[in-house]
Structure formats: structure tokens, C-alpha cells
């Protein structure tokens, strides 16, 4: 039996891999020694799980769970404080007409909007996530990325969504990517000794191969990331079922090895309730039911929420209603 996730810590896990992360060569040897991924087989498996038929009580459960897992996101140049306040209000009460509708997990904004979001959300339990580290490209010097991170944490961010340096990863400089994640994780520390949770974005649309996705997953987990995340939403393709499946296999295998649980967040491109439910089936059958919790699985999305709400209302009333019956944000 693997050690239970509550007792193993990220430090234990890091210690376990100290030999692996000692040098570029040892890290490369480890990552390239992971079992390969056969693309055709992986696509077929993800598609097969996508044919599960989730109806009635199972659908009601899945819709509520999906709402609780949403990181309601706005990451636009045109974002204003007003827009972020409205989004935060929506995150707390997605369906003002129905008190039984759960809140989302978090709102996800740029660092300069963290304070505004925090002001509205307060102690509601809805977290504030901030993208940092020169999001979305990650093309900046390390000290700027770290300053970006500290700024967001100081402003009250509960979670930091960082991007990896895809250029370094693709040119095989794994240790550089690893050390950057470690440094950002340290920058997530708060004055009181606690720490913001770190999500590590791979931009899988740029890594392209499933072998790369698996290697990036292990790299981020060994570096102490709390979550691994597919995409920024700014590059196509963003999240896909097979890519998310590869990442779910990685967190499952990482727990087998270390006892440490890591979360998974597909982001971008998940727009319909039906899609969201397919992802939950993947979580259930690939990583296992322990991951069916907003602490361990999130959806990075914006339009998805209203789709979930519409289906939820349909489940309770038996009727479809139009988009005007749901708030814009």
C-alpha cells in the first residue's frame, strides 16, 4: 500500500527524487525512462471513456461537482475592476434563483486584479487564483517572474497559476524548468509561513506529444507543484480529453510512488456540460474517485459555467430555458 496522502508531504517527495534532480543528465535519464505513450491507443481509450452514458442521478451529481470545480476565469487585456467584481459575485452565487446551487472553486485573474477579487470574495470560501510568471508566454527573466508571483501572493492570491518555459523544455533543458518551478513555489510563501497553492501550466498545445506531456507532468510534480494544468487558454489546442488522461495517469502513478496527491486542471476549450462530464468520467476511472473533489480537480473555464447551470436547471425543472435566464457574469 502507498503511504496515505495526508502523511506524505511535498518535502518527502522532493527528498525521494533528490538523486534524479541532481543534474540535467540524471533528470533527462529519468524523464526519458518513463514508459512511452502510444498516441493511437491513448486517443482510443479517452474516446472510449467519452462514450459513458451519464444520466439522471449520476448527471445531477456530476453537474454540481463540475460547478464546484470551476475556476471562473477572465484573462483579458480589457478586464476592469468592475468586470472582476461582477465575476467574483457570480462565482459565489452562480444561480441567484437557486440557493442549492454550489459556488465555484475559484476565480482566476491577472495579478493586478487579485485585490479586487479578494475584496468581493472575502471569506466566502471561493479562492482567488492569479496567473503569474509572465503569463501566457513565460518569456521573461526569472527575477521578473518571481516578482510577478510575489506581487500576486501579497495581494492575497490563494493560488498561483504559473507557466513553464516551453522553450527550455523543448530544447531539453529540463533542470532549468525544474529549478524555475521550485523557485516559483518558494515565491508562493507568505509572511505567516503558509503558502499559496501552485498550479503549473504546461501549454500542452505547444509541447505537442503525449510523451512530452507525461515528462512535463513528472517534472512539475517532482518540483512540488500542487496542481498540473494543461493550458493557458491562449493557444490552440487547449485542453483535450487524451492530454488530460495522460496527466491523470501521471498523478495516479506519482501517488503510487510517493504517497503524495497532486491535482489536475484542464483549461480552455471545455464549453459544454457534456464535455465536462466526460472529464469527470476520466477522473473517476483513470485517477480514481479520490480526485473527484475541487481540491484535486478543476476546470479552467468561463462560458462552461452557464452551460452547467442551464443543464442543472433542466434537471430540476424538466425544461430548458434560454441564456437570458442566466447571468452574464
Amino acid at each position: 500500500m502507498p503511504p496515505s496522502p495526508t502523511t506524505a508531504t511535498a518535502e518527502d517527495a522532493a527528498a525521494q527524487f533528490s538523486d534524479v534532480t541532481r543534474s540535467d543528465a540524471s533528470l533527462r535519464g529519468f524523464l526519458h525512462g518513463l514508459p512511452g505513450v502510444d498516441q493511437v491507443g491513448a486517443d482510443a481509450r479517452a474516446a472510449a471513456l467519452g462514450t459513458r452514458s451519464i444520466k439522471t442521478t449520476a448527471k445531477a451529481y456530476a453537474l454540481d461537482l463540475a460547478i464546484r470545480m470551476v475556476d471562473l476565469t477572465t484573462l483579458e487585456g480589457q478586464d476592469t475592476h468592475g468586470k472582476v467584481r461582477a465575476l467574483a459575485a457570480k462565482a459565489m452565487r452562480p444561480d441567484p434563483a437557486d440557493a442549492t446551487c454550489p459556488a465555484t472553486a475559484a476565480v482566476c485573474v491577472y495579478p493586478d486584479m487579485v485585490a479586487t477579487a479578494k475584496e468581493v470574495l472575502g471569506e466566502s470560501g471561493v479562492h482567488v487564483a492569479a496567473v503569474a510568471t509572465a503569463f501566457p508566454s513565460g518569456r521573461a527573466a526569472l527575477d521578473i517572474k518571481l516578482a510577478d508571483t510575489r506581487d500576486a501572493v501579497e495581494a492575497g492570491a490563494d493560488e498561483i497559476d504559473m507557466v513553464i518555459d516551453r522553450g527550455a523544455f523543448l530544447s531539453g533543458r529540463y533542470l532549468q524548468v525544474f529549478e524555475e518551478i521550485v523557485a516559483v513555489r518558494e515565491a508562493c510563501a507568505r509572511a505567516d509561513g503558509s503558502s499559496a497553492h501552485l498550479k503549473v501550466i504546461f501549454e500542452t498545445g505547444e509541447l505537442q506529444t503525449y510523451d512530452n506531456v507525461r515528462r512535463a507532468s513528472w517534472l512539475a510534480m517532482m518540483a512540488g507543484g500542487h496542481f498540473i494544468k494543461t493550458s493557458t487558454g491562449k493557444v490552440q489546442p487547449a485542453a483535450t480529453l487524451p492530454v488530460t488522461m495522460i496527466m491523470l495517469q501521471a498523478v495516479r502513478d506519482f501517488r503510487e510512488t510517493t504517497g503524495q496527491m497532486v491535482g489536475v486542471k484542464p483549461a480552455g476549450g471545455i464549453r459544454t456540460a457534456k464535455d465536462a462530464i466526460k472529464y469527470l468520467v476520466l477522473v473517476n476511472e483513470v485517477a480514481g474517485p479520490d480526485w473527484l473533489d475541487p481540491d484535486w480537480f478543476r476546470f479552467g473555464a468561463s462560458t462552461l459555467l452557464n452551460e452547467l447551470l442551464m443543464q442543472r436547471t433542466k434537471m430540476t425543472t424538466g425544461r430548458y430555458s434560454g441564456p437570458d435566464y442566466f447571468t452574464l457574469d
Binding site: 502510444d38 493511437v40 491513448a42 474517485p289 473527484l292
Partner: protein, 479 residues
């Protein structure tokens, strides 16, 4: 308030689309007629509910069916230009697609297989076979085997893929200008009888396709009939040998597709997560009622523990139950007789000292069920490593080197299929060249396509079905 248990609510496919008649006759010369043997009942293996009463064809009925086929061959079908025959085959293919849901539901009810398999595999692949061979009907002179039909084909098919095996048999026979008398298995006659209706719907000339139902005696009478030119059989090696003896000394052409004990070989550099899926697909697809099932897992010792652990974890997620539920992965065992055989061989495996492990799943109280099961610590000397179980039972053996894997994989009287899992292309080619098996799948398993020939080495039979090679068995220039 909330739990982490994601219970999938029942999602049954509706039965209302099928109309099962209380009784069925034989389909001879374009009409349903009474049989003169002792009629028998076909049941749902998932519930043991009686579905219908089916006629048994006796010697006289067989004689009428063969005569009808002969007449249709001489007067109509062999004289019809290939492009005209193709029109009928295309029409049948399209009707199979149009009535796909009906066929899938009926197949799952009568056979016990999960609806997701009958819907996504059996029916679409059956239609694909008719489409594929329809394309050959007017191009036979380019096949390399000439374009002269044999005459009347006697075809006997098994219960594991009732409609799909019918398509494998009938489509090439008809494309080549032959007429057929086909006997479905006694436990699964219903989709063949629905296919008879489809022949009527397609206006196929009477006598081109005849369906006679019954058990072993009916099959014997059919293949032994003096006026058939071709015998095509898919089923057990034991019956296959009896057929080979029965037709010896006649000028009947024979195609036999018999048993198997395929090795699914996993090397230490395999894409492991996909290999696990391939192992599961190889032995638990269709409850392991597959002649080319990957029933022997040969895993390299250096990854054996890891593979077994992953396999057990995956097997624990298999959903066994109602074949009509769209989320069912493993359905019912086809008959009480087959269940008894699986139990017997499994008990022998345990008595011989192999480690038995079954996926934790609740078995329904009525019907015939067997949980997905693996045996570890199996050696070549165990009976479960040698005999075909034809059920959801996997024997796990280990090997150290590619040479040992080849030796063990080939050390069987059978030779129908094999699987190889490795990231190394050169090793795939070496293995494919060394394995004595009709099909070798690389980094996949149980994939069927009408363009690909299928057939066995050694006691797995002779002749090929599918692809251009599948025409050879139905043309005079084929040998």
C-alpha cells in the same frame, strides 16, 4: 454533504426497437417455412428468459435449402453480372446500417454481449464487410483468383459474433457469385433470422441466401450434403476436425477458422498504459468469447510486477452486468454449458497451483456470469496455458528475452493471433516474422477490418477470410 462516489445510474438501451416473434421458421428460397425437426428455445443468457421458439432443420429441410440455393445459383446469381450483384450487397450493407440499433439490441439480448460492443463493433464491422465485398463483385478478374463461382456454400457459424460471422461468410460468397445455406449457432439464431428479413427487404433473389437453424446434427447434415461445393466453418477445433474428416475424399473446398490460444507479449519498453488496455481488450472483450483472444499474457520479467498491479487496478474498474446498459463493459457468458467449461478449467488452474484473482464485482443472481479473472504464476505445463478457455480468463506467464518470448508464444497447437507491445519498431518486425500466427497485432489488439485477411496456423484452421485473400475460398481459381 458530498461524496466522492460517482455512481453511474442505469442507462439501458431500450428494447422496444426489437420485435421478437414467439416462434421462427427456416428461411428457404426467400420464404420463412416450417422446420421438421424438434424446435428449440433460445434464451437471454443474462436473464435466462425464453426469447423465442426456433425451428430445427432436419435432413429433408437441409435438402430443400440446398436445392433452392442450387437453383438460385444456376438460374440467377452466377449469371448475374458482378455489378448487379454488387447493388444487392450495397443495399444489404445500407439496411444493416439503417437497422443498426435494432440489430445491436437483438444481438445483445440473444448473445449477452454488452450493447456498447454490438453497437460499436459487431454491427458496423458487419456492414463494412458487405460494403467491402460489394466493391469486389465487379472486379473479380483483377483479384488474381479468376471470376468463376464455386456454387453452393454450406456455412456454419459460432455464437460469439453471430451477425459479424454471418457477414464474414455471406458477403464474400455472394460477391463471388455463390449462393449460401447458413446455419447460425443454436444459442444465437435471432440476428441471422433478422438478416433473413433484411434479404427480403433488399429484394435479394429467392434462394441466394438460406438460413437453417438447429444444433450439431443440423450442421452435420448441412456440411455432409452431397450437393454443396464449399464448406466454411468457424468454431471449435474439435468440430473443425470432424468436418475435415467428413469432407475428406470429396471435392468440396473447405475453410476452417478454429480455436486459438494467443500470446499477448509485453516487453519492458512497452507503452504500459496502452498495453494494459490491450491486455484488457484482448481477453475481456466479448467476455473472452473470441477465437483470437489474447488469453496468454507473456510479460517480460523486469516489468511483470508493475504490469500485474496496473492490470488488477484496471480490471477493478470493469463494469459487469446488464448487457443492454450502455455503461456495461463485460456482459453475460453465452450459455450454461460454456459457463461450466470456464468454471471447470479455472478450477483446474487453481488445483494446478496457479494464483487466481478475480476483479471484485457483484454477479447478477440470474443468468450466466463469470468475473474477469487472471491466473498468475502460470507455466507452459499448466492446462490453462494450453487449452482454450473461451472465457474471461487470462493466464499470465513471464519471459526474459525476445527469443524466449517467441519460443513460448509458438509453443501451442494453435496459431491464430498474437500481440506485441514495445516502443521499438525493429523488435516488432522481428517478432511479427517469428510468430507462427495468422494475425500479429503491434501495440494494439482485437482490431478487425474487412480489408485485412484473417485466419490461422496449425490447429487454428486453414484458409483466409477478409481482404482480397478472402475471395480465394469462393472462386474456382482460388487454389
Amino acid at each position: 454533504m458530498t461524496s466522492n462516489v460517482f455512481e453511474y445510474a442505469p442507462a439501458p438501451e431500450s428494447r422496444s426497437i426489437v420485435d421478437i416473434k414467439p416462434s421462427y421458421g427456416l428461411f428457404v428460397d426467400g420464404e420463412f417455412v416450417d422446420g421438421h425437426g424438434t424446435s428449440f428455445k433460445t434464451i437471454s443468457p443474462a436473464t435466462e428468459e425464453v426469447l423465442s421458439e426456433v425451428a430445427e432443420a432436419d435432413q429433408a429441410d437441409i435438402d430443400l435449402a440446398v436445392k433452392a440455393a442450387r437453383r438460385a445459383h444456376t438460374r440467377v446469381w452466377s449469371r448475374m453480372p458482378g455489378r448487379e450483384r454488387a447493388k444487392y450487397l450495397y443495399r444489404i450493407a445500407r439496411i444493416i446500417q439503417e437497422r443498426g440499433r435494432e440489430l445491436a439490441v437483438l444481438e445483445s439480448i440473444d448473445n449477452g454481449k454488452p450493447i456498447k460492443e454490438s453497437r460499436d463493433v459487431d454491427v458496423p464491422v458487419a456492414a463494412a464487410h458487405f460494403f467491402y465485398y460489394a466493391g469486389w463483385a465487379d472486379k473479380l478478374e483483377y483479384s488474381g483468383y479468376g471470376d468463376r463461382s464455386l456454387g453452393v456454400a454450406a456455412q456454419v457459424i459460432p455464437w460469439n459474433f453471430p451477425l459479424l460471422m454471418l457477414a464474414w461468410k455471406i458477403a464474400p460468397a455472394l460477391a463471388c457469385g455463390n449462393t449460401v445455406v447458413l446455419k447460425p449457432a443454436e444459442t444465437t439464431p435471432l440476428t441471422a433470422l433478422l438478416f433473413a428479413e433484411i434479404c427480403q427487404q433488399a429484394d435479394l433473389p429467392p434462394g441466394v441466401v438460406n438460413i437453417v437453424t438447429g444444433a450439431g446434427a443440423t450442421g452435420q447434415a448441412l456440411v455432409g450434403h452431397t450437393d454443396v461445393d464449399k464448406v466454411a466453418f468457424t468454431g471449435s477445433t474439435e468440430v473443425g476436425k470432424a468436418i475435415a474428416r467428413a469432407v475428406a475424399g470429396t471435392d468440396k473446398k473447405v475453410t476452417l477458422e478454429l480455436g486459438g490460444k494467443a500470446a499477448n507479449i509485453v516487453f519492458d519498453d512497452a507503452p504500459l498504459d496502452q498495453a494494459i488496455e490491450g491486455i484488457v481488450d484482448g481477453i475481456f472483450f466479448n467476455q473472452g468469447h473470441v477465437c483470437c483472444a489474447g488469453s496468454r499474457l507473456l510479460v517480460q520479467e523486469s516489468v511483470a510486477d508493475d504490469v500485474l498491479e496496473r492490470l488488477k487496478r484496471r480490471m477493478a474498474t470493469l463494469r459487469l452486468g446488464d448487457p443492454l446498459d450502455k455503461n456495461t463493459d463485460v456482459g453475460a457468458i453465452n450459455s450454461a454449458e460454456q459457463l461450466a467449461r470456464i468454471r471447470e478449467l479455472s478450477d483446474i488452474g487453481e488445483a494446478e497451483g496457479a494464483g487466481r484473482w478475480s476483479a471484485p464485482c457483484e454477479l447478477p443472481t440470474t443468468g450466466f456470469w463469470f468475473p474477469p479473472t487472471i491466473f498468475t504464476g502460470v507455466t507452459q505445463a499448466h492446462r490453462i496455458a494450453r487449452e482454450e478457455v473461451f472465457g474471461p480468463v487470462l493466464s499470465v506467464l513471464t519471459f526474459r528475452t525476445p527469443a524466449e518470448a517467441i519460443e513460448k508464444a509458438n509453443n501451442t497447437p494453435y496459431g491464430l493471433s498474437a500481440g506485441v507491445w514495445t516502443d521499438k519498431g525493429s523488435l516488432i518486425l522481428k517478432m511479427a516474422g517469428s510468430l507462427r500466427a495468422g494475425v500479429v497485432w503491434a501495440n494494439t489488439f482485437n482490431k478487425f477490418d474487412p480489408t485485412s485477411p484473417f485466419g490461422g496456423f496449425k490447429e487454428s484452421g486453414y484458409g483466409r477470410e477478409g481482404g482480397r485473400h478472402g475471395l480465394a475460398g469462393y472462386l474456382k481459381g482460388g487454389e
